[in-house]
């Protein structure tokens, strides 16, 4: 069984640009979660999608957005990139009431 896959592995953008990060959950998992892991800040919850709907949102500005597709895969979009958006972005999936399975992450660097 394939795990949670994220693409791209690395992404370099300039300040002001937009970034799109992708996540494919484990087959059968309906929930997708996005986390930001910035240096020294631990894992900060960004977004939770379940059955195509946004269920919860962390304390991030609106330029962080996303969506979940009918096949349960998900996109995270970050608009108007700022230098402090540089971080590892982790995606996780779960089936209701089960634990998370994490992907390897996308390393976003904003220059």
């Amino acid at each position: 069984e394939a795990g949670v896959t994220q693409s791209p592995t690395h992404l370099i953008k300039t300040r002001g640009q937009q970034a799109t990060l992708r996540c494919s959950p484990i087959s059968g998992h309906t929930s997708v979660y996005w986390y930001q892991q910035a240096l020294g800040l631990g894992l900060q919850f960004l977004l939770w999608y379940d059955e195509g709907e946004e269920r919860n949102r962390g304390n991030f500005p609106p330029r962080f957005s996303g969506r979940q597709f009918p096949n349960y895969s998900s996109e995270l979009n970050v608009n108007a990139l700022e230098l402090e958006d540089s971080a590892l972005y982790l995606c996780a999936s779960s089936l209701a009431r089960s634990g998370y399975t994490f992907g390897s992450g996308t390393r976003l660097t904003v220059v």
């Binding site: 795990g3 929930s31 979660y33 986390y35 800040l41 631990g42 894992l43 919850f45 939770w48 379940d50 269920r55 919860n56 962390g58 982790l90 779960s94 209701a96 009431r97 089960s98 634990g99 998370y100 399975t101 994490f102 992907g103 390897s104 992450g105």
Partner: protein, 110 residues
């Protein structure tokens, strides 16, 4: 407010010594507690969850509701235990987001 606190950023022990990674939480409802581990160059993975009451790789953790703690323990540390450990909390049986602590880096020296 929901919060998970791991007071130690770095914990360094010698091989064979006991290990205790501390985790305290604040939560108004019934929490479900987890420990996740991230070995070097590997993805974050679940180590154990309190409702399972199991021992994984020699690690155990007991939920102490009176002290709002969920400390991770191992009687004899091994070099391969060196990793980043995160304590996390969610609502019982309701899925949803996990709140993570800041993490503790465990370094086991030979």
């Amino acid at each position: 407010a929901q919060r998970v606190t791991q007071p130690e950023k770095l914990l360094s022990v010698f091989k064979g010594a006991p290990v205790e990674l501390k985790c305290n939480y604040s939560y108004s409802g019934s929490p479900e507690l987890f420990w996740y581990v991230q070995y070097s160059r590997q993805r974050l993975q679940l180590l154990l969850r309190h409702i399972s009451r199991e021992s994984i790789k020699g690690f155990t953790a007991d939920l102490n509701k009176g002290e709002t703690s969920f400390h991770l323990k191992k009687p004899f540390a091994q070099e391969e235990d060196s990793a980043m450990y995160y304590c996390a909390l969610s609502r019982v049986n309701q899925g949803g987001k996990l709140i993570f602590g800041q993490g503790t880096e465990l370094s086991v020296k030979p």
